[in-house]
Symmetry: C2
């Protein structure tokens, strides 16, 4: 299964064979106790620490190849590992070991009039596939969360991180095996080109769910081509609406924080809507506060009149997830026009209102159809860690199964267990 | 949108236009109170009663056309309506009105250390599409459950029931409108050929979820071709394993009931597994008990030796959902071989064990990976009504979102609502 640029192309049979091994491993893993899973996670963490030098060597090959291919600096930074990042990944596994085990939780349980005892119990999915880009830490995060929730992890990172991911998976898989789990609970999908992703997307019956993480293009490709059920994640065209009744100092803090604290992530604000009634006062203030931080505003006519550094916005700006120090900005007639704008352009990730008006807050919360709707706080709080989940596999922007930040329970399915004494119908 | 055999083919634009109207209606419906939804359901029920004559006339055209096309009697019976069946559909709507409203239920709610108040609330999906076969009562059931759960229903019944469904949807939609809901909360997808289903499957963004109900072929087609998220339902290759420790009188009752009480439905048993140790005693007994009820056994060598009416089973029998008075039957070495057989052949709907041995029961429950695992009761209990849901939209055999019988809560998504006082990160 070793693949390099000179290797023959990966076939569908190769991918299915790996997926079939994940399925066999998943059957065994589903029955493993919490204690054994946690011990394996600790062993995996120690193994990462011990293998730091080898991991950095493998990663250096990826970084070198990416640099030679002209990859931009921010992407190189996402790809690169150092000793500190390896230690952080190992610590992440130890943290996951400390989280409660979702498997076995009884969600509902009752006795029917005919004496049947019915309960709904959390069980692992089986095989979870992740398709993701650049950052090698996703490999370790996903493997840790999958093992903890009793699922085999079938990982397909980006081609540019192939050497890093192969080295990480080898260390994790060997450690899992040493701790008594099947080695195949963590596997890498062979191949570095899109055809191997395609084979994975057709492996219905072998793979229970596919979670894509990455840019809009990758996610769209997976969603449109998969016959395996998909959990769509992450694209965030995120809005902040500043209502007429807003505390303007609070509004400024929230808008600036939502935009600049980490512009490259999905819960960062991409669009600012301001109530007409406060435009005269708030537009110059927020424009200047954002520009001071290096933000480029793409504004409507009223914003463009504030100063010459505001770029004129087009419809494309309302649709764009910049993931950079850019923000689109417009004035709206009121909360209803803000809601209408959001319903049209939002990706359904996170949208926020800053207001002191109870009716406006309730109206916004009821009518904005997004995974997270926030009143008077930064959009950056839509996050598994900030929601108190302890860990996060991604942020779902679809309505099926999981919506918003996904923690361990979102990586499980359920099973109905019925006990009777010979009842018939 | 009126379609008959002489009408021009339905285009993708036609289907998308109807779906877009469903989406607009869904936005409004999501904000309607429980009282208004329940009142609309009662109005819809009364309207069905009042329209009985017209509905039967429309249905008679479908039945006549189906009979002329040589449709088999059992299918004609599923298609046919009479006054009693119309009254039962109306009563079904009144029953749904009496069920609790899932929308607005707070599933989780807590305050974070930084003061953020976070809650997870049930919200409607938006637009639910159903693709289903023959029985016109599904049209009314689906419309009622969708409206109750705040979702617009976009319905695509079988071509053979088109006149019936068109008449039913016209009555329901008009009644909904009379009760103050948007008329488009209940719509029929135009067209009677597979291309209109195909257009529906591509309407991602307009349709939130598609639920297919019908034969294995229909479900497979929807699953493999949809870019809209799907909830797979219903194919039931259902097993009963009779353990060595079973009370044989109970085992006989459960096997016979699981097979014969309604052979055409998905929770009926299709395969019988018997522990080797009791084969000498139990095989003649169960074979005779089933044959007396007109059941044809497709048995392994040991079953075939019981009497000449047992047909020799092939691998195809283990894979078959007969939906008729047939059952495959084999002897296994013990609970582990039974589990192995079930893991290989079961469709993951329902599998049962009859046993008096606690370890065998626990082993079976833990290792059989099906939506419902039943100990000492008929497989026919996997049913929304029997589970106490009050209503059922289908039985999910997938692991994502919902597994097993689906009631009103399974027709909803969730939204995270966060209230703060200006918190930033």
């Amino acid at each position: 299964m070793s693949i390099d640029s000179a290797a023959p192309a990966v076939t569908e049979a190769d991918v299915r064979e790996v997926a079939a091994r994940s399925r066999v491993a998943a059957v065994e893993l589903a029955l493993v106790t919490r204690a054994a899973k946690d011990a394996a996670l600790m062993t995996m963490a120690d193994a990462l620490d011990a293998a730091t030098t080898d991991l950095l060597t493998a990663n250096a090959r990826d970084v070198e190849a990416a640099r030679a291919a002209g990859t931009a600096e921010p992407l190189l930074d996402r790809l690169a590992l150092d000793a500190e990042r390896v230690a952080a990944m190992a610590q992440g596994l130890r943290d996951v070991a400390g989280l409660p085990d979702p498997v076995g939780e009884v969600l509902r349980g009752y006795t029917q009039p005919n004496g049947l005892e019915i309960k709904q119990v959390r069980v692992p999915f089986g095989v979870i596939a992740m398709v993701y880009e650049a950052r090698p830490n996703v490999t370790v995060d996903a493997a840790g969360l999958a093992v903890k929730s009793g699922n085999a992890a079938l990982l397909r990172g980006s081609g540019s991180a192939y050497e890093s991911n192969r080295a990480l998976v080898a260390v994790l898989s060997e450690a899992a095996s040493k701790a008594g789990l099947p080695a195949d609970v963590i596997q890498l999908v062979p191949g570095t080109d899109r055809s191997s992703v395609n084979y994975l997307l057709k492996a219905r019956g072998l793979v229970d769910v596919i979670i894509p993480r990455g840019g809009a293009g990758l996610i769209k490709f997976v969603v449109e081509n998969s016959s395996v059920p998909v959990i769509e994640t992450g694209v965030g065209n995120v809005h902040v609406f500043v209502d007429a009744s807003a505390d303007l100092a609070m509004a400024e803090r929230i808008v600036v924080n939502s935009k600049i604290s980490r512009p490259s992530v999905c819960n960062s604000a991409e669009s600012l809507l301001v109530h007409q009634e406060i435009a005269d006062e708030f537009l110059p203030r927020i424009t200047s506060a954002l520009q001071v931080q290096g933000v480029v505003l793409h504004g409507d006519r009223q914003f463009a009149e504030v100063n010459g550094d505001v770029v004129a916005a087009t419809d494309e700006d309302w649709a764009t997830e910049y993931l950079s120090l850019d923000i689109s900005a417009r004035v709206v007639a009121g909360v209803d026009e803000a809601i209408e704008h959001i319903r049209r352009w939002s990706s359904g990730h996170t949208d926020a209102i800053v207001t002191s008006d109870l009716q406006a807050a309730r109206r916004f919360v009821a009518r904005v159809d997004s995974a997270a709707v926030i009143v008077n706080a930064s959009t950056r709080f839509t996050d598994g860690g900030e929601f108190g989940f302890g860990a996060e596999i991604g942020i779902s922007t679809q309505k099926l199964h999981a919506r918003g930040p996904m923690g361990l329970p979102e990586l499980t399915s359920t099973k109905w267990v019925v006990f009777g004494d010979g009842q018939t119908r």
